[in-house]
Amino acid sequence: MSAFSGTVGLALKIAFLSIVNALGIWAAVVLIDHHKWRAVAVLAAATAGLDAIYLVKRWTLPLKFLIPGTIFLLAFHVVPVAYTVNVAFTNYSTGHILSKSEAIAGIKVNSLTEVENGKAYTIAPARDKGGHFLLVLRDDSGATFIGTKDGLRPIPRSDVTVSDGAITAARGYRVLKGTELGSLDKELSTFTVPLGGDKAIQPQGFDTAVVLAPTLRYDPKADGFVRLKDGVLFKDNNRGSFVAANGEELEPGWKTYVGTRNFSRIAHSSLIRDPFLKVFVWTLVFASLVVFISFALGLLLAITLNKPGLSFQRTYRALLVIPFAVPAFLSLLVWQGLLNDDFGVVNRLFHTSIPWLFDPNWARVSVILVSVWLVTLPLLLVAVAPLMIASFAFNFNNFGNIYLLTGGGPALGNSPVAGATDILISYTYKIAFAAGKGQDYGLASALAIIIFFVVATISAVSFTRTKALENLA
């Protein structure tokens, strides 16, 4: 190493700015292609800002050092978090992922039902001499028809050639075949042959058509669907669904803002709130114990091994960090196998039959034990207060350890969702992704926000207590 020449720095700066500008210009061109003007404006401002920071002297100095990391922080951390926060105020969940107009279209399609005793037809798309699009149809009895936008018209059976169950020709019409069909979709999929009333023949693919009738009709004035059978009105309930007076709901619904409804569910639904509190306590215990034991062990080991001249010192150190190298979540799978109480190596080795993963209390012990195993060694290296708190925050949200080892289980008899080893984040995951009706991102995001405030508060308090903030001087 010798004195630094400065060219490398300049080169990096040039490279960095080149890339930023090149990407900016490129993205702008692409965005202009897509007519996304707002994005272009944001992009231009951001690029210009970056250039300014790096080309202007002096006062931007701290920014020059902070900007690169901040860009990534914003793009891949702050924005996702902001998105999650946003989702917390929506009903984003199974059945509520489309926009309202898409949902209306979906309900219309879903409401089409095969008419009872309705016929099915073999069809062939065709054109008449004037080039108008129409269908040649043949029902199960062999009767043949021409279907147009105006309705169904019988034609003599002899006019239609059928081969192998398919209509291949019709006198006076040109049956469309083969590769012609590929470009027919737009005409065909919107083409219906009205049969009177709501009924219509609708083609399904190129060979068949069925008689369908809607069961619901959208009424734009009432902003709702009317069920044709009984006139029941399904109205927008402002929570992303069309709902009838008796509570019956149409699917699909749509994604919409629901205010603080997710939060009030957490506060008021005993199904969510009661286990939440119980799990919260266990989460605290889990995270504190893991951090405490890890640091205690780490410290003990450090003290033990830091004696100068201790033989095998290097060997011990080298061997002790091996587990650190094994990808953690793979180790968890290994541990799960090791701790199986009848067949796992641990019990067989010690001739015990401890229900490591089956008994609620033993499962809690196991989870802590394995977490300590995973945490101790890296921390053996660093034992400073900010890291302890970071480690606490990490374990507070250590989804992987719990989920891979016990899945939050074993189940506790009296609680539907929370298992003995569930911590807040795994509990959130469960009620979010395996909730009553599939996924519920809105509720999960609301819980995530609450968890964030809990962790942040605890950390902030411990920070002031340990005076780790003096590091800020």
Binding site: I14, L17, S18, N21, A22, I25, W26, V30, D33, H34, T94, I97, A103, V109, N110, L112, T113, E114, A120, G178, T179, L181, G182, S183, L184, D185, K186, S189, Q204, G205, F206, D207, T208, V210, E251, P252, L271, Q336, G337, N340, D342, F343, P355, L357, A363, T406, G407, G409, P410, A411, G413, N414, P416, V417, A434, A435, G436, K437, G438, D440
Partner: protein, 414 residues
């Protein structure tokens, strides 16, 4: 001055790099093209070769570009919820139990195959893909577990009592023998345990008037089942079923001939054949009722995006017509070692193991395809674990009654 020169260099390089990049930019994103229609299919790599074959032949006939894209099976369902219309598939491979979720989300389109075609499928296979009375998928494969019997070690039982006797006798031969290799583990496995569940009169959801499943009719602790539940306690006492056997343990035990009975499915065909052990696959003998397994049905679905892409008719033609034909179903059987859903195709299956698994699935119950099933798996599996963990187990009646309560609470709360 120095600063000025540096700025000049910078600007020069910046410009040069920008121009290079712009120059190297590919043609503007494909958004304007009035050429032949294009149809995108998401398939798992297992089905890809068979789908490639049939879809490309069909595409040539219809004048369509077919783009068969590999997509990990596990992520197809969720990715369909986030994908942008430009990149979205028109047809997907799907498991039947996604049906409710996808339909409730409005992501898939109903299908209306002809009666002639429908007749080639068992009713349950079509029901499995139906939601709210509409069919959303074309089934092509069935899978289910069966009881694999090591015929060197034990006789093939014809009654449950016989099975129980054989299994326990074998278990008592050696300390590390297992009576029945049925996987549970700490998380439980309601899927593999279903034959016992159904054999005792259990069901998950009852169905409403229109035949659709009703999430409020929970059969996890129905009266009949609860009446029969003490049998579970008996099995637990004698060690017929032990929840501590997980998948690996069970499989290993059977392969090492430490277990004579194994409940598993066609995904183990290779292992079974490679084991060199003589075996038969049967349906678990009737307990109080027929001990039918859960059925998994795989199929193809048309997404809502097909309409936006202007290929709705094409997609329906491919899925509700072409893919339901026996030839396609046999191709897929070859590819993924599952019993074809099409009855005609099923008759032509030659693989002996698949055939036996197919038979073991007769009368089976499709896994409920409504979204509420998400609330069931863990609870039902957990009840089995609690009731069969050996000493200290919870009485089965309590375990299942609790599970039923919890499921109801979850569904109500969701």
């Amino acid at each position: 001055m120095k600063v000025g020169r540096r700025l000049a260099i910078l600007l020069a390089v910046v410009l040069a790099a920008s121009l290079t990049l712009i120059g190297g930019r590919a043609t503007p994103a494909a958004h304007a093209s009035a050429k032949a229609a294009k149809l995108t299919i998401w398939v798992d790599n297992v089905q890809k070769p068979a789908v490639d074959k049939i879809a490309s032949a069909w595409g040539t006939r219809r004048g369509v570009d077919v783009n068969v894209t590999f997509h990990a099976f596990g992520s197809i369902r969720d990715d369909l919820k986030t994908v942008k219309t430009e990149n979205a598939p028109d047809v997907i491979v799907a498991a039947h139990d996604w049906t409710g979720d996808l339909a409730a989300n409005g992501l898939v389109a109903p299908l209306f195959p002809t009666k002639a075609i429908k007749k080639q499928f068992p009713a349950y296979a079509l029901n499995a893909f139906s939601y709210g009375g509409k069919l959303y998928g074309a089934p092509y494969a069935l899978e289910n577990v069966g009881l694999v019997v090591n015929t060197r070690l034990v006789k093939v039982p014809t009654t449950f009592a016989q099975f129980e006797k054989e299994a326990l006798a074998f278990k008592h031969k050696s300390a590390d023998n297992i009576a029945l290799a049925v996987p549970q583990g700490s998380g439980g496995d309601a899927y593999h345990m279903y034959p016992f569940f159904s054999g005792l009169g259990g069901f998950v959801f009852g169905s409403g008037k229109n035949g659709a499943l009703n999430p409020n009719k929970i059969g996890v602790a129905n009266k009949t089942f609860l009446k029969n539940a003490p049998l579970i306690d008996k099995w637990n006492r004698e060690g017929l079923i032990n929840s501590k056997v997980d998948y690996g343990t069970g499989k290993n035990a059977w392969l090492k001939q430490k277990a004579a009975f194994w409940i598993t499915g066609p995904w183990e065909t290779d292992a079974l054949k490679a084991s060199g052990i003589p075996f038969r696959i049967i349906q678990l003998p009737k307990i109080k009722f027929r001990s039918v397994p859960f059925l998994g049905v795989q199929g193809m679905m048309v997404t809502k995006f097909a309409a936006a892409h202007g290929v709705a008719s094409l997609a329906k033609d491919l899925v509700a017509n072409e893919m339901m034909k026996p030839s396609f179903q046999l191709d897929l059987e070859q590819a993924n070692l599952r019993y074809p859903a099409n009855i005609v195709a099923g008759k032509r299956v030659s693989d002996p193991v698949l055939k036996q698994f197919g038979k073991a699935g007769i009368g089976g119950v499709p896994m409920p395809n409504i979204p509420q099933m998400g609330s069931v798996w863990a609870e039902l599996g957990g009840a089995w674990v609690k009731a069969t963990k050996g000493p200290g187990a919870t009485p089965a009646r309590v375990a299942f009654a609790t599970a039923a309560r919890n499921i109801a609470a979850k569904i109500a709360g969701g």
